[in-house]
Amino acid sequence: MAENLQITARRLAAAELRRRCDLADAGFATTDELKDPAEVLAQPRAVDAIRFGVGIRAEGFNLYAMGPEGHGRHTTVRLLLDERAAREPVPPDWCYVFNFETPHKPSRLELPAGRAPQFSQDMQRLVEDLRAGIPAAFETDEYRARRQEIETEFNERQEQAVNGVGERARKEGIALVRTPSGFAFAPMHKDGVMEPERFRALPQAEQQRVEALIAKLQEELETVIQDVPKWRREAQHKLRELNRQVTHSAVNSQIGDLNTKYRDLPQVQQYLARVQEDVLDHAEYFRQPKEGESPTLFGIPLRAEPGESPLKRYQVNVVVEHSKSEGAPAVYEDNPNHGNLVGRIEHIAQMGALVTDFTLIKAGALHRANGGYLVLDALKVLQQPFAWEALKRVLRSREIRIESPAQSYGLISTVSLEPEPIPLDVKVVLVGERFLYYMLYEYDPEFRQLFKVAGDFEEDTERGRDSELAHARLIAMLARKEKLRALDRAGVERMIEHASRHAGDAERLSLQMRGLADLLRETNYWAQTAGREIAGPEDVRRAIEARERRQDRVRQRLLREVLRGTLLIASEGERVGQVNGLAVLELGGFAFGMPHRITARVRLGGGKVVDIEREVELGGPLHSKGVLILSGYLAGRYAQRQPLSLAASLVFEQSYSGVEGDSASSAELYALLSALAEAPIRQSLAVTGSVNQHGDVQAIGGVNDKIEGFFDLCKARGLTGEQGVLIPAANVKHLMLRDDVVEAVAAGRFGVFAVDNVEQGMEILTGIAADALNRRVEARLTDFAERARAPGAAAARTKEWRGRPQK
């Protein structure tokens, strides 16, 4: 570096490299002394949105809580829902009961919260009582007497009618004879039927008279007998009426009790009335053999279960009940498949066939959440076949219709059951990634109508005293909740600094709760290993380092190959057209910086900067954009009045996979300028930052990882004090560097320079003042331009081209 050069870029002080957290005046020694945070940490936008979405009672105002994993979306949603649900009324219970009119369409029955189980029990008891009461009523003497009366009446009527004809016949000397299957008439002789011989001996006229008489009597008897079936029907009708009366008296008092008990519920009363009618019509169900005498087919019991009886129809299937609930339900369904959402109808195998009835209707999460809130993981719903469509259908129709996917898609036509839909009043909260929200919004028109409120969770928050303290309280709460060791103040400070580093910004704090909780657990582990009762900063540091150590195999391997000289990265000396760029690699959530050699070659040409990465399609569009901006800068800055007669090529050396991002564009420009000015660049420096057409150096991401990446290499080779990294000035606020980097900078063994524009950068890299450098670049470009314009330039170019390889 030239002694007289006035460097305008700023060499950063150690204090600027890591913003320390200092909670000395917060007045606590360990997390045990900290209170729990007052409310959800630093997610005002999301919290407001959720409160709004939950509060507003209008159709389609369901919620989508979006944000990255591990930022407390579920916890926050849960917390806010519980808070609100507790203040809301408990929704009603729902039952399915037998539909006496259309048995394959079970009816729903609504009961006030908590009363369904009691009602179900009451119905069970009613059936038990009727099972005892109805047969008892049929065993009374009264019933037997009345029944016999009816039977006797019928028999008498029949006999009287027949005997009447018999009497008339006897008067005429004709006997009415009972045959095994009916009656016949025959002439009498003494007490018996006249022998055939005797009859034949009668005079012809007498025979004819008898025959005619008998024919007449036969006709008469036929008419009488024809009336018999009618009389039997009448008798049967009377008997049925009698049965009904007897059942009625047995049933009436029992159901009457229930009617009184459920006087306030007209729906239940209607149901009870139907039950009463049905019991009257089917009194025989209650007089059937008890269990153990069930019918069999070839010795196999025909009923699958002992409980399977015609009396099952009087059961009450409580699908959802709230006897133990306080407030509205807030349900989280972990496995939102179709059946778990809308409920399902189960089947029982019976003699090889699958049968079902209304008692096999099972509730889904929507039933349980009805009248309250249902939280679902968006991705899981979308992954389950038919679940998303079913959820939307239910929200649209505002009623839960239980049908199997095969039914709703019309794939089967064997009707099993069609339970009456249950009215739905639920607020669904989907929790998912942002991209899912935007995709659904874009491609699913119904999604927009059904999920009108989005709660967007922040990744990070403003870092200040308040937020630091809130973070400390959160750490304290997590430690208490998980029964982990308390953390001392320095440990808390270190964790907060780590949150800041995680956010990649010294002025912000990461809100990734899962990472924080994991770090706390790991810290607890290391404190335990070290035998400390209270975890301190060294445990936090150990936890962070150990985590990195577990993940850094690739980083170490790359570093090893650099040190062994397989990957060529210089960290000392000078060279024209070659600069150390910095790239960030991310693998499995672990990001690290790695220096890359970037080189540039220039010659006379048509004004094109060739990006080799792009030519071979290893460079992404942003990278290409960065390179094209370079051309713009070069032309605008150095070749305003002449054609840019330059042919340059740029490359990331030893890069075998894609390069993306424009954070190397400043490095590429430095390499190019160095090549043009033939000014060697110090290899002890590495560079990051993008550049615009005016030559301003712009902010890039991953600045901390990049600096540390180069630092690690230099440290491995030995820190000289000459080494350092150039970063955009706009990135200074993002610096949260590791302690060893900060210490090295404090000791003057490493440097971090904040650069505003390319000229500042070139000064540091080459040690040549910007003016002088610019003149050299201009001169070179003017030379190219003149050569390009000069007659025979083409020939010269050809010559030069030919000459090259020999050089």
Partner: protein
């Protein structure tokens, strides 16, 4: 009908039937009673001569009950029918005897009952006459019971009488 016994200590029960409906039910009840009292059961199936005479008449017709359908009758068919009825009664008793230990005998009589049969009835303690037709046989049995020191008669001709008879048998069986 002779006065029904208040209680019987029967060693022998005679059941007379003629294949008409009341017979079967009376037979079952009598069998139950016999099994209970460990009495001997004598079944007399009476083939009604009146029926055979009737069948032999040139204009013989039967009016079915309860179908009210009229059919012609002939002797061969009537005899076949009576045999069938007798066989039915016999197999019914045989089946009953298989279920409960029962000492029984079965006889078929045509026309007026023979002396030996009447002697058996006279020595029985209980005579059940479930005869729908066969007036003559019924009268014979009634006369025998009247004359006998031991035998009581239970008689049923119609379904109504059968109910009373069955009640009585059940009462005796306890």
């Amino acid at each position: 009908m002779a006065r029904p016994p208040a209680k019987v200590k029967a060693r022998r029960i005679v059941v007379a039937l003629d294949g008409a409906a009341p017979g079967t039910a009376a037979l079952e009840a009598a069998a139950a009673l016999a099994a209970r009292l460990r009495a001997e059961l004598v079944i007399v199936f009476v083939e009604d001569v009146d029926l055979l005479h009737l069948a032999a008449l040139p204009f013989a017709r039967e009016i079915g009950f309860p179908s009210a359908a009229s059919r012609e009758l002939d002797v061969a068919a009537m005899e076949r029918l009576l045999r069938l009825r007798a066989e039915e009664a016999r197999s019914l008793v045989a089946a009953l005897a298989e279920r409960t230990p029962l000492k029984w005998s079965f006889e078929v009589a045509r026309g007026p009952l023979t002396e030996p049969l009447l002697a058996v009835a006279a020595e029985a303690e209980l005579v059940v006459a479930a005869l729908a037709g066969s007036e003559r046989a019924a009268l014979q049995l009634a006369a025998i019971c009247e004359a006998s020191a031991t035998a009581s008669l239970l008689r049923a001709r119609t379904m109504r009488e059968l109910h009373a008879l069955l009640r009585e048998l059940r009462r005796l069986a306890g």
